[in-house]
Amino acid sequence: MEPSVDPMTHRSVQAVSRESTFEGFYEAQLDWARRLTFVLTGDDLFVDDLVQDAFVRLRPRFDQLDNPRAYLRVTLVNGVRRHRRRERRREQAHASLAHPSPEEDGALDDLVDRIDRLPYRQRAVLVLRYFENLSEAEIAESLGCRPGTVKSLASRALARLREET
């Protein structure tokens, strides 16, 4: 039998129930939030900071949210954007904290690097589309823009990646 699905979150009712408390939600969503943040930032150093900040921001509103995961996603996307702006300024100061790269897969790393170099909004669109599998409308909501803008950003990102291939 198909598990019952929450129409708002598209996740199982059981899972949603477990996450009815903030603590449960935190436990359930932490890993997802970290991975999303990581692919958005491309830098593991501040992933935990960003994720925690997002949870802290979400917490006071948690009980009022129909879809806290979506709220968290938007918070993360915006948090990463702010973080990237800051990091450009602090890059030099924090260079000593850089982590060594793990073992690399040449082709994929190359593509990841090229995605990293995309402007943030283009990169965010790719992440939300291909990592989060969101629709254009959902991406638009997450980024606070129109679906047409999402389409345009995605098109430009893909074109740029193709050019570099």
Partner: protein, 364 residues
């Protein structure tokens, strides 16, 4: 769809998931890499202990009287045990100045004046009703910038008393949830620095030692000072809150804090410039831009006791951060009092009527 596009999309999908798999284990719930086991254990034990205390508790805004008496905050919400915020008091600045304990707010839980908030130390310890210290919160986080109602800070991060661990947060003045169980290296460093400042600017520099007497502070002067007016006295004698110095330029929290303290009419805009004070309370310069034509200046200053909080020298502005003019710094930045001074002296920014003090060495 174009097969090459499909192929690219599939590669992007693979690349992003590949990237996600490279994420190291979290330091929040799992084992943090490259950390000694003993430390992890200690940290976990602390967190468990803190959580036990804290989850049974709720930190509520209760403020300390001028005599140092703890008071409970009004109306703790159901489900939370009232706690107190206990001012550790008697911080010692690098120049030997002591300050604290926290002056009294309205015992009825009314509004804290800007002056009252200014007079507090930057960090306030958070304790439950058994006086178990749960951690430390930043004053600005807790009270906003004043005049402020008690505990208007919303979610406030709570640091462990050693400043190295963020143990949770206070939520809207009534909750303490152990959200953070560990901190990343970046957090630890920031917390270390903040905690050190709170302890009287005793910052253990993790950068090469600096010659305090010849410390070069990179700051910028801007026309803003002409518009804004006189800066206030150093709010914390001998200690400079880090946030006032090199804050997040796009975050604005630091300026918001300063703005209210100083009453600077920045029109609600959370933008630089930020006044930068030397430890002797003089205006060292401004960081940031007024959005017009910032002028940069490098000031060499000498602190009152030969020590300068590292916050003055940490996170130096990176060339290109603010303006391409960075490397074309001018030594002729304007101080507030722009009166005539003898050679070798400059207008004192804080003395009124305008007076002159020995010129700080200004080098482009």
């Amino acid at each position: 769809m174009d097969t090459s596009i499909q192929d690219l999309e599939e590669k992007i999908r693979s690349a992003l998931h590949y990237r996600a798999e490279q994420l190291p284990p979290t330091s929040l719930t799992g084992d943090a890499p490259n950390r000694p086991e003993r430390k992890r254990t200690a940290s976990r034990a602390f967190v468990v202990a803190a959580a036990a205390v804290v989850l049974a508790v709720a930190v509520v805004a209760v403020l300390v009287s001028k005599q140092g008496t703890d008071r409970e905050a009004p109306a703790a919400p159901t489900g939370f045990v009232p706690c107190t915020i206990k001012d550790p008091g008697n911080f010692v600045g690098p120049d030997g100045t002591t300050f604290g304990p926290t002056p009294s707010p309205d015992p009825k839980g009314g509004t804290l004046s800007t002056e009252e908030i200014d007079a507090m130390p930057d960090y306030i310890s958070v304790a439950c009703e058994t006086d178990t210290v749960g951690g430390w919160v930043k004053k600005v986080d807790m009270f906003g910038t004043g005049p402020a109602p008690v505990m208007n800070g919303g979610d406030v991060l709570v640091y462990a008393d050693n400043g190295t661990t963020i143990v949770g947060h206070i939520g809207n003045g009534n909750g303490f949830a152990a959200v953070r169980s560990k901190v990343t290296e970046a957090q630890r460093r920031l917390a270390d620095r903040d905690a050190s400042l709170a302890e009287g600017c005793k910052y253990s520099q993790d950068k090469p030692a600096h010659d305090a007497d010849g410390l070069t502070i990179t700051a910028l002067m801007s026309r803003w000072i002409e518009v804004i007016g006189a800066p206030p006295p150093n709010p914390l004698p001998g200690c400079i809150p880090r946030e006032l110095l090199f804050p997040d330029l796009d975050g604005g929290r630091a300026l918001a804090a300063y703005k209210t303290r100083a009453g600077f009419p920045v029109g609600g805009s959370l933008r630089p410039p930020f006044p930068v004070f030397a430890v002797d309370g003089t205006l060292a310069g401004f960081e940031g831009s007024d959005g017009q034509q910032p002028a940069f200046i490098t000031i060499t200053t000498t602190s009152t006791n030969g020590r300068v909080p590292a916050s003055l020298i940490d996170d130096p502005p990176t060339p290109g951060d603010f303006s391409s003019d960075y490397t074309n710094a001018t030594p002729t930045g304007r101080y507030y009092y722009d009166g005539p001074c003898p050679p070798g002296q400059v207008p004192s920014p804080l003395l009124a009527p305008p007076d002159c003090v020995a010129a700080k060495t200004a080098t482009p």
